[in-house]
Symmetry: D2
Subunit: 349 residues, 4 copies
Amino acid sequence: MAEVKRVGMLTGGGDAPGLNGVIRAVTMKCIEDYGHEVVGLKRGWKSLLDPEQDTVMPLGVEDVRYILQEGGTILGSSRTNPYKKEGDPEKVVKQLEEFGVDALVAIGGDDTLGVAKRLHDDFGTQVIGCPKTIDNDLSATDTTFGYDTAVSIATDAIDKLRTTAKSHERVVVVEVMGRHAGWITWGAGLASAANVTLIPEVEPDLDQIASIFEKRAKSGEKWGLVAVSEGVTLSEEFMTQNAETDEFGHVRLGGIAETLAKEIESRTGIETRHVVLGHLQRGGTPTAYDRILSTRYGLRAAEAVNNGEWGKMVALRGNEIVTVDLSEATDETKTVPNDLYKAAETFFG
Amino acid sequence: MAEVKRVGMLTGGGDAPGLNGVIRAVTMKCIEDYGHEVVGLKRGWKSLLDPEQDTVMPLGVEDVRYILQEGGTILGSSRTNPYKKEGDPEKVVKQLEEFGVDALVAIGGDDTLGVAKRLHDDFGTQVIGCPKTIDNDLSATDTTFGYDTAVSIATDAIDKLRTTAKSHERVVVVEVMGRHAGWITWGAGLASAANVTLIPEVEPDLDQIASIFEKRAKSGEKWGLVAVSEGVTLSEEFMTQNAETDEFGHVRLGGIAETLAKEIESRTGIETRHVVLGHLQRGGTPTAYDRILSTRYGLRAAEAVNNGEWGKMVALRGNEIVTVDLSEATDETKTVPNDLYKAAETFFG
Amino acid sequence: MAEVKRVGMLTGGGDAPGLNGVIRAVTMKCIEDYGHEVVGLKRGWKSLLDPEQDTVMPLGVEDVRYILQEGGTILGSSRTNPYKKEGDPEKVVKQLEEFGVDALVAIGGDDTLGVAKRLHDDFGTQVIGCPKTIDNDLSATDTTFGYDTAVSIATDAIDKLRTTAKSHERVVVVEVMGRHAGWITWGAGLASAANVTLIPEVEPDLDQIASIFEKRAKSGEKWGLVAVSEGVTLSEEFMTQNAETDEFGHVRLGGIAETLAKEIESRTGIETRHVVLGHLQRGGTPTAYDRILSTRYGLRAAEAVNNGEWGKMVALRGNEIVTVDLSEATDETKTVPNDLYKAAETFFG
Amino acid sequence: MAEVKRVGMLTGGGDAPGLNGVIRAVTMKCIEDYGHEVVGLKRGWKSLLDPEQDTVMPLGVEDVRYILQEGGTILGSSRTNPYKKEGDPEKVVKQLEEFGVDALVAIGGDDTLGVAKRLHDDFGTQVIGCPKTIDNDLSATDTTFGYDTAVSIATDAIDKLRTTAKSHERVVVVEVMGRHAGWITWGAGLASAANVTLIPEVEPDLDQIASIFEKRAKSGEKWGLVAVSEGVTLSEEFMTQNAETDEFGHVRLGGIAETLAKEIESRTGIETRHVVLGHLQRGGTPTAYDRILSTRYGLRAAEAVNNGEWGKMVALRGNEIVTVDLSEATDETKTVPNDLYKAAETFFG
């Protein structure tokens, strides 16, 4: 292990509440416990291909002490991938040298960590990874930070919609984040007592959905809430069937929530609306859980830097934060297992 | 004034946080202070045209004591207007008699109160009105309940989006409720420090908007937030220009937020996204302000019932809740005056 | 009116959510609309008696753009009163000159504004006042900023305590801010559906309180919530009666909430606890309502500076922010009028 | 395993957010998946010694569907322990028979579960336990429900106090729940970026605390936050030294927060205040995390009932909910291990 002097840190890809918690913990531990110097590299991998005047951001203890409460990332981000263009990886390595960075902490999803892995393998770059995905769909780690916050925001939104759905005797279909895996939707559906929860892992059973609301209507409750992942799909035929012609004569296709809403209304006769939560789920202050989890990830990453555990990433296994090989970052998407979905089904109705 | 024995209450039209506060205050004051009996009539005017088994809902003090915290309305609602069909007004009057209702408290927007007014004028129905509109656009009253809650929800959403916008160096355009008047958007834009706020009362100046974000970008802040009312319009030509062809070959038109977002991105080169808040703004627990305001409205309505102030509605004038003629309910829409918009413009940038 | 070049601003006394909103609005309007220069003077009147290196804080538009969401005051505060010591007022005037401050905006309670008034009268100091008190007890203005936030925090706390009180069949007495006037307690008691609300303006009727809980217990609800202002008093004899001897042999007197709790338990036999909310009510992000109100106060203060309305203070009258003479700041405490308390009593039980 | 027909459920001891989640999950799974009948037994073990008219509460799916969002417990509670008095255990067993209860789910802390264990051992009572403690100090299970909510409430309170502490240049000492173990305080201190966190497991170092604030003051930050568990102790001598004489001539001893506050002020010269959070931490709606965790506990308890796993309790081990022997409920208190405290110390300053 080369003697570490200057630790560089970057955040890549979409943001997740808790990024600043990781940045803070890495910074404070590296400085206070190990005596290293820490600099932020703004805007993800782009910082090392196309540096700007503000790219290198020296980080001191007091610079980061109170960023824990802030969503987003003080280091900005980009979706730049150096491995997309020939010669770029070499540029990255060279730039790290020019910046005098001895160790790099890369915080990001499978793209960001995939790049970190390759730089380590191809050039021996001294890098530690920290996984980040609001979707909680990285096999490598049990729970990712930002997930709890996203679930909380979606849960709160569905709770808010309940009163209006009940008052107006409507069904409201809420589109929740989750393109490939339904973790956020599963969590929010469970925590909000949604009447039906639909995730990409399971094909929607339109008959089952309709009959749930018909049964509720028969017993006097002509309303309800559906939580559906954005990644749930129905056949193209079905989607087109439900398109409508707008006031300008254009045919307008809806998203999954809107399409499902029309289908539910047409099958059950209950007025149905839809809401798309979108980017709201990424933002705002992290929950206490995410502040603590991201802090723990960051502490272990700082330790890995100090130990020279290059080519590793931090991961939560049970109650422990450990290090595992960066290759695990690009493992299969972790989808919601069938038993957890069945557990949620107990509460449909 | 006939001796009042049984007070009926109904809520019509869209829901607004605070409806239960009115219901609660009318019920508790009528019973405890005046010794009247109170019944809820479920589902708005429909309750008197098409009564169901659960239409008449006896209300006691303990039934309503803790509904103050609940959004929505325990009396349900409908958009039914008895004056749409001949003979229906007579049916309503007859049904009120059959239910033994001596006095009716109608809580709703201009439609609901318009019906109340006509029943009073045409048949001498003993009715008191209480205005309700989340949009705060009733000339008759200074502030409507539910408005503060809607502004708070929209403000909180824009605050949440700020961190993600800043981290990703994007502009996010947020579509806020407000079809004819921009009160909610004005309030939320002001309270969330949005960089630009657009309301239906003022034609959007696309050059001004683009230049604000270009100026921010020049000074290193390549991001921002725009709050726009759903009722803001741009020319059909403009809307069509920004339509896109979807994966199925259909031309898809966006809403105002989506269209503006594309325009801003195309003019400034800054990545721009949009979010539509929709029904989230109607739901959930009312703010403390709305709980207090709705309670005050309800107390005065109960007093008006006891005094026999038929054909009146309660209204907030400055700091007092007074009664005014029900005809004021259907006065012009109260739009955001120019000086308040200019005040908001001070903060654009 | 002398030509205004440099506007100084200070905040004195206790903090209130919304102070930063005022600071922001004064700064942005003075700079953007009038071309004035703005400096903050840190730590209230102390800044002009005992300046430190960081006392003068130049304020630019981008320095304040996002402070609206923050509680507290970026200008710090002090309880220093220059009129307490001979020669100090002269020092203040001289220091303002040395700092090149042409116009002073003083944001504070009756102490701070009282000083502002005297400096204006005695020395012709060009000062504008902006009233601040979380207690909403300034006669001069209809509603002060920070009040809505304090009520919201107290309401939320009482709502939280309801579930635990009900589960354990206890009465919980909650001590809310309000030494001389019961506005916050009145508001929170009303908004939280507390079973009893006690304010300094009205002598507590212990028999009434006990009988309310006895009646609730008889009907199966052996629990409840009491909201009591810190400024409610009972006789010394009564307070001493309820003191207890601690584990070290010391006699320990409780506060009003604790003492009342013991009395209720002893009279009714229902287990009773107490909670003192304290400083929690001053802190945190202002509500949307307070952000808007404080912004409106600040805009009008900036206008008053530009107009040279020296010796005035801004005030809310109905829906308008106007200017009134600074002497009104030290008028009688505005207490909760009897009719508003009677309105609240409707809901006791 | 006798064929289960009627499942009884009770909740004992202090309440914790999430109890209703357990009750709901047990009820819905027992009824929907297994066809069992479920009744609630109100007021803990007291229900079986001193039954009242409302003690037995039949629970159907729709009775519990939406209680997930509610704090507290719909089954009430008591601190009654049948093993305190001779003959009472026999009464309990007899009463269970008379109520026709075949299987009992006991949700509570070590007292409640200790009784469950003994009834099983002494009489063969068919009982399943579910652990409950907001303090997260049961060795038997990795995380208890209600803990995340308590940490979130305390974190939010400390965040609120930060702005007022900073504005007034004060130190605020916040007393957080935790008599024997400092989990809640540790979590809240970490998540709120408190400058110092003190837990019962570690003797407070007053010199360290004072020097942290002196150092902050030297660098211009004359303020800060301290999170301290209620169970932290200092010597009697120390506590008495800091007692004060009240206006009635009585010597008044403070709690740990108040005493520490005085000590910090006297050592550093920085104005210091204290706040006791108390019962606020138990109440209100559970976080999404706690709703999900409590639901998972309840599902596994229902399964255990169906399987006849008598004398067991459900427990979280890593990511799995398993069953373990009820004897583990009364194992040693799980205190905060030294490495987690050291992790928190990284952030003191």
